[in-house]
């Protein structure tokens, strides 16, 4: 008696359990590749998201309309400026992964053969949810505000090398997570907000395309770490830095507690 999104979630859980079981067996040997360590952390973050009460409310269809709309706004704000972030990552990419990052960036901007700018898909989604032009403006303002805050904050890291690594890990974590949840999210938004497939195109891209991106992203991280000479300990510290809290929950599920999470 469970609807498609819920089945999908069980699949993800089963997959996560397997990953943790395997990584547990390996118990951090010195030789463990950066890729495995990174993916383990991605998995922990995803598990945190899937276990959070708000996600469960959204995913089960139990949440109120207000929560779905707040979630859509957060998601749009989180990804609207990804072309800019990808451009930054492209600028710092070592030669070995620059081409992949460039392709990813152009695709995000709609400058590839497909010609669909992803930010415009996000704004289409916001409109289809009834957020209107006012809502779109609000989302754009938030996304730009986040960027400018990032530029004005005192840097906690020593050089651009570290900052670039942190950004690469965070962006990759989202691609990785979306490649496993985009279909689920599209499913619960379709049912709960009555959206049509066209409104949900952004999720289609991130479910299908990002399976490839997500795998590439892990290679990019490994490349970056090797090319800039990060030691195993430094990689560990960088991961602790990026994941000092659950970044998925922070970006997607943080809204004023007054928001109706009740049906």
């Amino acid at each position: 008696m469970c609807n498609p999104p819920c089945c999908k979630i069980q699949e993800i859980y089963a997959w996560l359990n397997l990953t943790f079981f395997l990584s547990g067996l390996m118990a951090y040997p010195e030789t463990m590749s950066a890729r495995i360590v990174v993916e383990k952390r991605f998995g922990e973050q995803l598990e945190g998201l899937l276990r959070s009460p708000r996600w469960r409310a959204l995913e089960s269809g139990q949440a109120g309309r207000g929560l779905y709309l707040a979630f859509v706004e957060n998601l749009c704000a989180a990804h609207l400026c990804s072309p800019q972030i990808l451009a930054f990552l492209y600028a710092l990419a070592p030669p070995s992964s620059a081409a992949k990052l460039r392709e990813n960036m152009l695709e995000e901007m709609g400058l590839d053969q497909e010609g669909i700018a992803h930010p415009s898909l996000l704004l289409d989604l916001a409109r289809a949810c009834g957020l209107g032009e006012e809502g779109c403006a609000r989302v754009q303002k938030r996304a730009r505000g986040d960027l400018s805050r990032m530029c004005m904050e005192a840097l906690l890291l020593r050089t651009l090398k570290e900052l670039g690594f942190a950004a690469l890990v965070e962006v990759s974590a989202f691609e990785w997570m979306l490649s496993r949840t985009a279909t689920t999210i599209a499913g619960f938004l379709r049912v709960s907000l009555g959206l049509n497939p066209k409104a949900l195109l952004w999720f289609h891209h991130h479910a299908e395309v990002d399976v490839r991106h997500a795998a590439e992203a892990l290679e990019n991280i490994e490349d970056y770490a090797a090319s800039y000479g990060f030691s195993k300990d430094e990689i560990g510290a960088m991961l602790d830095f990026v994941f000092r809290e659950n970044i998925f929950i922070r970006r997607y599920l943080d809204f004023p507690s007054g928001d109706s999470s009740q049906p």
């Binding site: 805050r149 004005m152 904050e153 005192a154 840097l155 906690l156 890291l157 020593r158 570290e162 300990d233 430094e234 560990g236 510290a237 960088m238 602790d240 830095f241 000092r244 809290e245 922070r250 943080d254 004023p256 507690s257």
Partner: protein, 383 residues
């Protein structure tokens, strides 16, 4: 100038990561912000964090102290128009209105929130920075890291994270067991040359504290904070006479009377100052001055979970006092999920932070965030 209205916000801001020591584990801050208006468009804010295990205060006692005592004490005041000839005089004047409530129970956090809010409003109404009252003697403030009470592996990772952020100085929370492994792990994480102190939060008795200090001295630990419970005054004196490491007092040092007794009894080497704990800027300053006159070293602590408001007040006072050995605070969104300030007050790489030059405390408060995390908002009107 007089205050036309006030609001007390009782806040619960979730932490990005939890913080643990031997007396408490916190996953969110419990703090209070007092917002004052002067009727001519100036709005000022002050903050206090009641901590039952330090001063006996709770959010409830803080609320009562502000609603029944401190707000009535300042609501009717006519504050002088011409200020800031002499910064100290202004601080003394504002402080003189904030006498302790009758009954003997002190409310340092409530008093601190009120004092800071009065000063912030007063200074903003004149476009002046708190730095005009507390003249800085240095251009930057350098903060140290804090490592919460964890197992050795987690402590190593916290230390490694601090090192990534360029910090070479940290205070480690310890309890009665496992401290040697903890210090070794932190040393490994922070790297060679790092300065490491420990905070026992009163978890030891005289015998176990001495044993702990003898074990930690050869490991290059620089100081031990609050080895004994607050009330063990004579044990602290005995311990200090024999201790192989400098002793800092924290929970034992709340009032000027505490400070005088500690000096008289020769019970410590270091005063750990904290604005909220000590009841505001002026009282903290007086304790600092007494400490210096008595040849003690000064540390400057913070409240875990403080927002940009207390961090800003701390920045001003630390820059004013100058040459402090160990300064904590200004963790901002490293600790809080969201801070109250527009533009950040958090330190940057190396724990370094510039002076705040804006009017008042130098913090532009985001009212939306204040409202978002308020569990209760109490409107105060002039009595």
């Amino acid at each position: 100038m007089r205050f036309t209205s006030a609001k007390l916000f009782l806040l619960e801001i979730p932490f990005a990561a939890s913080f643990r020591h031997s007396r408490a584990e916190r996953t969110s801050s419990a703090s209070a912000v007092l917002r004052l208006e002067d009727g001519h468009g100036s709005v000022g804010y002050g903050e206090g964090l009641p901590r039952p295990y330090v001063t006996g205060e709770t959010l409830e006692t803080l609320r009562q102290a502000i609603v029944r005592h401190f707000w009535p004490a300042i609501a009717g005041l006519e504050l002088p128009e011409a200020v800031v000839e002499d910064g100290r005089e202004v601080l003394e004047k504002v402080s003189s209105f904030l006498t302790d409530p009758p009954g003997g129970f002190i409310n340092p956090a409530a008093r601190c929130a009120t004092e800071l809010a009065v000063l912030d409003t007063l200074l903003k109404s004149r476009g002046l920075s708190l730095g005009s009252l507390l003249t800085p003697v240095q251009g930057m403030v350098q903060y140290a890291g804090a490592i919460s009470l964890e197992n050795a592996e987690a402590a190593f990772r916290q230390a490694r994270l601090l090192r990534l952020m360029g910090m070479t100085r940290a205070k480690v929370k310890i309890a009665r067991t496992g401290y040697e492994d903890l210090i070794a792990a932190v040393r490994r994480g922070l790297g060679p040359g790092a300065v490491i102190g420990v905070d026992a939060n009163g978890d030891f008795d005289e015998t176990t504290a001495l044993r702990m200090m003898e074990a930690l001295a050869p490991l290059g630990v620089s100081f031990v904070e609050q080895p004994l419970p607050r009330e063990d005054f004579s044990a602290l004196r005995h311990l200090h006479a024999r201790a192989p490491l400098p002793i800092a007092v924290d929970e034992s040092l709340v009032t000027i009377t505490d400070a005088e007794a500690l000096v008289r009894e020769k019970s410590c080497d270091i005063f750990n100052l904290r604005i909220s704990k000590c009841g505001g800027l002026l009282r903290t300053l007086r304790i600092a001055e007494l400490g210096r006159r008595s040849g003690l070293r000064l540390h400057f602590g913070c409240q875990v979970g403080e927002t940009a408001l207390l961090s800003a007040a701390g920045r001003h006072l630390a820059a004013h006092l100058g040459s402090l050995d160990h300064i904590e605070g200004s963790y901002g969104e490293l600790l809080l999920r969201e801070d109250l300030s527009e533009g950040n007050t958090r330190f940057g790489y190396g724990g370094l932070a510039p002076l705040l030059e804006g009017p008042g405390l130098g913090v532009m408060v985001r009212e939306d965030v204040l409202n978002k995390y308020a569990v209760e908002i109490i409107d105060l009107v002039p009595p």
